[in-house]
Symmetry: C2
Subunit: 274 residues, 2 copies
């Protein structure tokens, strides 16, 4: 094994950092991995940091001292987030997505790994500052984007189930009223899935009245957990008053007009203007 050039070392270092978002690596680890001095590794990391900053590829945070090291924190610049959401809205407007009953077919998009990853990056950027400890979602369609959000925040993912399962052990269940059609729904979570006092963000694909999000607050109260943020991929304009006060939507669905075969959907205002 010949001597490693700086460029080879950098390639492997970036790959290692990006493979484990928000993971802490010590300078010693890298020094051993590459057979280089810690001062050299430190210089390398400076280069990575500059490069990521210049190209809007996320943040590289270095920590000094004995517990020192480096972390890669995924972060999508606002302009890139908006461009991505604008382009997704265009795809969502395709008339053949309109289903009987005025529903909109979007499973193919939110289950696309590339799309889920981008959404996860946007939510991670938006919610990191709230210092959550867990990412919560409810089965099924929110799981891919919640998974990627958790991955980019370096957090565990916890999925609420629509009913209690024998393979989960003792669970806490609640019944709640779905805000839009007033049907009784239930969701449950294994007791061991969340420690008391956890800070969680709730991620889901769709919000109409906000009944599911509201139910999540109630279920989290049973765990003495705090919901510090709510993020949904799409929220409807109506009803204007949702059952939760604060939430971040990426897209706003104004209307699905079955007759005219027209979908009115747009990026949320907080993403800014083009």
């Amino acid at each position: 094994m010949g001597k490693l050039r700086r460029s080879e070392r950098l390639a492997a270092m970036v790959k290692t950092l990006v493979d484990q978002p928000a993971g802490l690596f010590s300078l010693t680890q890298f020094a051993e991995m590459f057979g280089a001095a810690k001062s050299t590794i430190s210089e390398d990391l400076g280069i990575v940091k500059d490069s990521f900053e210049r190209f809007g590829l996320g943040r590289v945070e270095t920590f000094a001292g004995a517990a020192g090291g480096v972390k890669y924190l995924p972060e999508l610049p606002m302009a890139a987030a908006r461009d991505f959401v604008v382009q997704l809205c265009e795809q969502l407007k395709a008339p053949d997505r309109i289903l009987p009953g005025g529903f909109l077919y979007m499973t193919d998009l939110i289950f696309s790994p590339a799309v889920a990853a981008r959404i996860g990056e946007i939510f991670a950027t938006r919610f990191r500052g709230l210092e959550p400890g867990y990412v919560l979602t409810v089965e099924t369609k929110g799981i891919p984007m919640a998974m990627m959000t958790a991955r980019f925040l370096g957090l565990p993912l916890v999925a609420l189930r629509r009913g209690a399962r024998v393979t989960e052990g003792t669970a806490v269940s609640i019944n709640y009223l779905s805000g839009s059609d007033h049907r009784i729904q239930s969701m449950s979570l294994a007791k061991r899935a969340l420690p008391r006092g956890a800070r969680v963000i709730f991620i889901d694909d769709f919000m109409r009245a906000g009944g599911t999000a509201r139910g999540t607050y109630d279920l989290m109260a049973e765990f003495e957990a705090e919901v510090v943020g709510v993020g949904v991929f799409m929220a409807t304009t109506e009803p204007r008053k949702k059952l939760v006060e604060n939430y971040t939507a990426l897209t706003v669905l104004d209307q699905v007009d079955e007759e005219e075969r027209k979908v009115s959907v747009r990026p949320a205002a907080w993403l800014g203007q083009a």
Copy 2:
């Protein structure tokens, strides 16, 4: 904006490649992004390729000619795969994972983004050669690992639902007998979710008798799709005869002894010896 050093260019290039596994980038794209000659980019990619090979970080494939470019293909060396699975088995043996009825709690592990990513990398390495076009799973617990498998193969993810949904449009449903307890189950898939003639791999968290996997074959027949591979995180030793002929398990569950509080689980034989 000063002149870019090779090391800065490499850092951004690796980040871009790793962010989009199996995505094709043309040399022209990179040349424009970095304001460098294509010959320079080509040299850079040679360095990345060597470095990834040396550290077992995956494959970098370059294509010559007009349609030329470069792809990063995630690939976990067999020894690393085995080490990871051995370590997971140790975690699974914790007696407090034993649930009433002899079930094993493992949701925390398979919903951990880092674990799901590693599992996805192993399945991607194992199944890439079969040239699948889609990754299929069934809700709910298989979704995170199937998602990461799809991400690392650069493929769409398709999730079978336990019942038909109004938000999916016309769906094809089948009923099947669960192999272990002979209960009738059903699963469905939106007609538009899969084109005729697709090649799919099926990924799930758990296999006892293989009824769900068998059902997947039947449902795929309705789509004239071909199941070219089946991967499960855990398969039980009993029943020895599964309802599908070929499958790849990462771990084998011999027994959960409720009385003795003992879990017997081990890495599958194909992962080799330590």
